[in-house]
Amino acid sequence: MNSSEGRYTRCRRRLLSAGSRRPLKRGSILKEVAERKSPQRVRFWSHFQLSDEARIELVLSLVIGALVGLVVVAFILLTGRLAARMYPPESAAWRRVLIPALGSLVTGILLYRYFPNARGSGIPQAKFALFIGEGFIPLRTVVGKFVCCSMSLASGIALGREGPSVQIGAGIASVLARRFGLTKDRVTALLPVGCSAALAAAFNTPIAAVLFSLEEILGDMHAPVLGTVVLSSATSWVVLHLVLGDEPLFHVPAYQLVHPVEFALYAVLGIAGGLGSVLFVKLLLGIRLFFRKLPRSTVWIQPTAGGLAVGLMGWFMPQVLGVGYDFVEQVLSGDLAFKVVAALAILKIAATAISYSSGNAGGIFGPSLFIGAMIGGSVGALAHASFPGYTANPGAYALVGMGAAFAGIVRTPLTSVIMIFEMTRDYSIIVPLMISNLVSFFVSYALQREPIYEALARQEGVILPTGEARSDAEGARVGAALRQADHPLAPADTVDAALERIRASGWNALPLVDDAGVRALVTERELEAAWREGRRNIGDAYPAPVDFPFVHADQPLSMALRRMGSAGVNVLPVVSRANIRQMFGVVVLDDVLAAYGLAWEKSKSE
C-alpha cells in the first residue's frame, strides 16, 4: 500500500512538472506515466486483463491444486498406515476374512446413513456434478468419501484410491468455488481442475491427469479450461513431491525390445487385455444390476457381501486384497510364477467386480492396473517360455498389460499411454504400449460399446453426454450445412427492394455481391437506417468492400454459431480461405441447428 502511494505521489509530481493540465486523478496519472514510458508495453499487457471472477478462478486453480494435493497425499498416507495396522507382517489368515467383512459392514452403514453420495468410484459422481449438477458437490460428500474410502481400502477391499481421489478433488474445487461466490458456470469449470489435481497426486502423473480430465471427465481435448487444469495439476504434483519426494509409482527395470516379432506378441497382449477388460466390465455391471434389484432395506448390508467375498478370496491368495501395488511391482520386476499371476488376474476381476457392485467405496483405476499387470504377466510368461530368444522378460509384458487393461476398461487410450509412461518413466516401452493399448481399446469397444462410466450412470438412470457424441457434434463442419445464396443483393439494387427481399427470405441479413465477390453482409437494421437516411441504392451505402462476418466451409458448425451470435445475424457467407470475397454459399442458423439434431425441437416449440 505504501509503495503504491509513493509511486502515485512521484507520478503526480512528474506530471505537474511536465505541465499537464488534465485532472489529477490517481488512475489516469499512473496510466499516462505508463503510456509515456512504454505505450507498446501497455497495449501488450492489456491483452491479459482479466475480470475479477477470472482472476479469482485463476488463483483458485492454484489453491485447489495445493489443497487437493495435500488432501490426496493425506488420503494415501492414512490408508496405507491404517492398512499396515490391520494387516501386520506375518498376521494370521483369519484377519484376511474378518477385517474386509467388518470394514465393509462399518462403511456400508456410514454410506447408508450419512454419506449416500460417497458410494462407488467417484468418477461418475464427478461427471454427474459437472454435467447435470451445475458443479455442486457438498462438503459432506467430500468428507464421507475420504473417511469411507480410507476405511474400506485399509480393510482390504479390492478397490482403488484414485477414483475416490478424483471425486474428493472435484468436491474440494466445488466447495471452494462456491465459498468464494463464483457463478455456477465458473464453479462447474473448476471441477475438472480439482479432478486433474487429484489424479496428479494420486498417481504421481501430472500430464496424464490433465489428459484424463480432458479425455474422460470433459470429453473434449480442446476444452477452454486447459490452462487452469494444467496449473492445478502442476501445483498438486509439486505438493506431492514436497511431502513424499520424487518417486514414481512403480520402479521397473529398463526394458527393451528383444526382437521385432515382439510387436505381434504385444498385439496379442492387446487382445487379451481387451477381452479381460470386457469380462471385467460386463461382470461388474451384471453383479451391480443384481444388487440393485435387491430390496432397498438391504443397501446398508450389501457392501458386507462384497467384503466377505473378497475376504474369502484373500484367505487363499492375500495378494487379492487392497490395491496391491506392492505385488504389481514384484510382477513388473519379472518375479512371478505363471500360475500365480494367471489365478490373480481372474480372482482380482471377480474381487473388484463384487466389491464395487456391492456398493463399497473405492475406484477401479488401481484394480485395472493390477488386472492388466497380471494379464500381461501371464501372456509374457507364456511368450517367454515359448520363444525365450525373441522375447523380453515377462515383466515388460506386465507393464504393457497395465496400459492395455486401463485403455480397455476406462477407454482412455491416450491417457493410458502417458500414464504408464509417467508411472514408470521408461520411454523404451512406449511403442509396444501404444500398439497394445489401441488393440485392447478396439477389442473392448467392439464387444462392449458403452464405456463403463456411462454404463454405470445409465444404471443410475442418468444419461451422461459421452465424449464420442460430443466429438461427433464438434466434428460437424460448415460444409455439411452449406446452401446456395439464391438471391444475394447487388450494388444496383434499391434499398426498398433489398428490404423486401430480406424480409421475404426469413433471414435478418443478406450478402451484398458485386463483380469481385462479397462486398458486405447487409443486415435488415442497416438497410432500414439507409432507408431513413434517404439512400436510393445499396451501392451508395456500401461504395467499397467492408469487413463482414463470415466462415469457411471446413470450420466447425460451433464456430458458425459463435460468429452468428457475436454478429447478431442468422446467416453467414461461406467464403474461400484464399480470397474472402469469393463466396461458396451461405450457412443459415436453422441448418446449423438441424445438423445438431435440434430441428425437430424447434418445430415442436413453434
Partner: protein
C-alpha cells in the same frame, strides 16, 4: 442440490481459512509421511534381517524374495541392493544381478561395495580387464566403515585374480602399493612376500620376509621364505643362513633340512660368488662344465648329433684351456656350460630337476647380462 446465489465477495476470512487449512494439512502430511517412512524402514529392515538368516542357512532363493520385498519398501537402499545382487550372483543369476549393481553404481559411481561386487560379476563372466577396472574403482572408492581394510581386501582379490590369470607384471604393480598400505599384520606381510615370489621378484620378497623375520624372529615361515627368496636370487650363503635359522626353530623339518642341503650345494658350486679367489672360481666353473657335459651325454648318448658333437668338443677345449691365453678360461668354461645346458633344457626338459644345485646355479648364470 442447486447452488445458492452467493454474493460475489471474496472476504479476507475466506483466504485466511484456506491458508489455515493448507498449513494444517501440510503439517499433518509431513507428520504422516514421517510415520510412514519410519514404519516402512522398520518393516524393510526386518525383511532384510530374515533374508540374511535365510541366506546363511543356504536358502538363497527365499532370501532373494525377501531382499526384493525389502527393496520394494525401502527403495534405493544400497545395503539391500548389494545383498540382493550378491544373493543373485551366488545362485548364478548373473544377468539379474548386474542391473542391481548397475543401479547402485548409477547413483553412487564411487561406491566401494557396488564396484567390488560388479568386479566379482565381471570376473565370474571371464571379463578380467573389466573386472580389474571395477576392482580399482572399489579400491579407490568410498566405504562407509573400515575403508582401509576393505580396500586391502579388494586389492588382494584383484591380486588373486591376476595370479590365477598369470599376469605377473600387473601383479607386481598391485603388490607395490599393497606393501605400503598393508597394516603390520604378520600373516598379511608373509602373504605379500609370497606374492612377490609369485610375481617373479625374489629381491622384494626377500626384503619382505626379512622384515617379518626381524620383527618376529621365531616365525619359521619367514625364515623359510627368506631362504627360498635368497636361493632364487642366487645368494646361496644368505639362503643357507636363513634355512639354518629356520631349522634351529623347527629342527624336525625334513623339508627345511633338504632346502638347506640344496643351498649348501649351490653355495659350493657357485662360480661367481664374491671374494672368491681365481683358482677356486676356475675350478668351480670347470666342475660345472663337467657336470653339464655329463647331463648332455645323458640327454644325447653317443655323438651322432652334430650339435651335440660341437658342444662336446667345445667343452673339451674349454676344460683343457691354459691360463693366461687371450680368453678368460672361467668365462670360456661357463659359456660352454651354458650352451650345453641350454641344449639339455631344450632337448630333455624332463631331465632338468629344479631341486638340483646344478639347475639352480645354471639358472642364475643364464640370467647374467
Amino acid at each position: 442440490m442447486k447452488i445458492a446465489a452467493a454474493p460475489r465477495v471474496y472476504p479476507l476470512m475466506n483466504w485466511l481459512m484456506v491458508v489455515a487449512v493448507v498449513a494444517a494439512l501440510y503439517a499433518f502430511d509431513v507428520f504422516m509421511a514421517g510415520v510412514e517412512r519410519t514404519e516402512l524402514k522398520r518393516e524393510a529392515s526386518s525383511l532384510f534381517a530374515q533374508g540374511r538368516r535365510l541366506e546363511s542357512a543356504r536358502r538363497a532363493d527365499a532370501a532373494i524374495r525377501l531382499y526384493r520385498r525389502a527393496l520394494a519398501i525401502d527403495r534405493g537402499n544400497v545395503e539391500y541392493q548389494i545383498a540382493l545382487g550378491r544373493a543373485l550372483a551366488s545362485t548364478g543369476r548373473y544377468g539379474e544381478a548386474a542391473p542391481v549393481f548397475d543401479d547402485v553404481l548409477d547413483r553412487y559411481p564411487d561406491d566401494g561395495r557396488g564396484n567390488l561386487e560388479m568386479a566379482r560379476l565381471r570376473r565370474a563372466a571371464g571379463h578380467l580387464s573389466e573386472a580389474a577396472s571395477y576392482f580399482h574403482r572399489a579400491i579407490y572408492g568410498s566405504w562407509l566403515r573400515n575403508a582401509q581394510q576393505h580396500r586391502i581386501e579388494a586389492r588382494l582379490e584383484l591380486i588373486d585374480m591376476l595370479v590365477r590369470a598369470g599376469r605377473r607384471r600387473e601383479l607386481l604393480a598391485e603388490l607395490l602399493p599393497l606393501e605400503d598400505e598393508a597394516p603390520d599384520d604378520v600373516s598379511l606381510r608373509l602373504r605379500i612376500a609370497d606374492l612377490f615370489m609369485t610375481a617373479g621378484s625374489p629381491a622384494r620378497a626377500a626384503e619382505a620376509y626379512r622384515a617379518v623375520a626381524a620383527r618376529n624372529p621365531d616365525d619359521v615361515r619367514a625364515w623359510e621364505g627368506l631362504g627360498e627368496a635368497e636361493l632364487q636370487r642366487g645368494n646361496y650363503h644368505a639362503a643357507q643362513s636363513a634355512f639354518v635359522s629356520a631349522l634351529r626353530r623347527m629342527p624336525d623339518s625334513d623339508e627345511v633340512r633338504r632346502r638347506l642341503r640344496l643351498a649348501a650345494q649351490a653355495a659350493q658350486l657357485d662360480p661367481v660368488s664374491r671374494r672368491l679367489p681365481f683358482p677356486e672360481r676356475l675350478a668351480r666353473s670347470r666342475r660345472i662344465l663337467s657336470m653339464t657335459i655329463a647331463e648332455l651325454q645323458q640327454c644325447a648318448p653317443g655323438q651322432e648329433n652334430a650339435e651335440v658333437a660341437g658342444l662336446t668338443s667345445r667343452a673339451e677345449r674349454a676344460l683343457h684351456r691354459k691360463q693366461f691365453q687371450d680368453e678368460d678360461p672361467v668365462e670360456a668354461a661357463l659359456s660352454a656350460a651354458e650352451d650345453a645346458w641350454s641344449y639339455v633344457q631344450r632337448a630333455c626338459p624332463a631331465q632338468v630337476r629344479q631341486e638340483d644345485a646344478l639347475a639352480l646355479v645354471m639358472s642364475r648364470l643364464q640370467q647374467r647380462p
